[in-house]
Symmetry: C2
Subunit: 204 residues, 2 copies
Amino acid sequence: MVDRGLLLVLSGPAGVGKGTVCKALRERMPNLVYSVSATTRNPRPGEVEGVNYFFKTKEEFRRMIEQEELLEWAEYVGNYYGTPRPFVESMLDAGRDVILEIEVQGALQVKKKFPQGTFLFLAPPDLEELENRIVGRGTETEDVIRRRMEVARSEIELMDHYDYVVVNDEIDCACERIEAIITAEHLKKDRQVHKYMKWLKEVT
Amino acid sequence: MVDRGLLLVLSGPAGVGKGTVCKALRERMPNLVYSVSATTRNPRPGEVEGVNYFFKTKEEFRRMIEQEELLEWAEYVGNYYGTPRPFVESMLDAGRDVILEIEVQGALQVKKKFPQGTFLFLAPPDLEELENRIVGRGTETEDVIRRRMEVARSEIELMDHYDYVVVNDEIDCACERIEAIITAEHLKKDRQVHKYMKWLKEVT
């Protein structure tokens, strides 16, 4: 019997470095499966069905919504984007850990549909640093920056819905923390005890 | 403000290698504080008060029991042994992680008095291996061995009271697993979120 994999949901405020950490993590942990999103937008040159995205028509996507086949979904610039549950479930059943990198609202949707996931909030070292990252992106107006700060603040208030807070001070350090969390989650009693109970039944 | 330390309770069946793993762990993690027991037995040559044990008279020990100053205690061959709570609390307050290596019944006592601890069950790779370890200790009679196996079985059934199950297949692997658990426990949301909430209050 294969131990079921973990669904790791990596989320956090805009600009905190989710994509960079996720990419580094996948290089460090080649066995980690990256959740593939479904979308109704057209494939771009080089994009491969089932690798970059599952490409769907709007009708197909709406059917997936109705049949609750999505862990989360959103509409963005006239197209649908979402996380197909069957892909994730099949990987977990095969004992693979799956990582899903997603913005905060999406993570909350996933939590409702898959509360047994492990929810990681990637956090800035402090709010000043976050402000630097938001401001440092380009030559934005004060209004844009203020709005981004407000968004970041409300996102930090959402931390409470997560299991772990991982500070993204250095990419390698953040990855090491996430690796430790993955190891620890696999060692949780509820994931281990059934093996011993089975042995007990066999020897008695 | 210093983050409070973790109380790690390392327990498991007799013969599983608690002492060996604990010793290796302390060498790998010099900042880890080893909980010092109190005892009414006489000091042996070379034993240092406050390092090996807190040496107490029986009257002192009974007073500690009455005043609930012990996280657990037991009587063994006419002497008392126990874990003084004030020492543990002062180390945790100073931000130090404390490890307490203890047999299963003691761990259950600690859990009642300090449920916020992290309870690690050190487990044999499988029951056959546990049986080998129990038999392999010496030239015990069949009865002794059978009784030990029964004890081990009932201890494994106690796994359910623990947070994590750490298989002791190789000492270094077991230590790495425990280190990962310590890292992950420090990253749990409840331990992190107050810092960010404080920052939020400061910037708004």
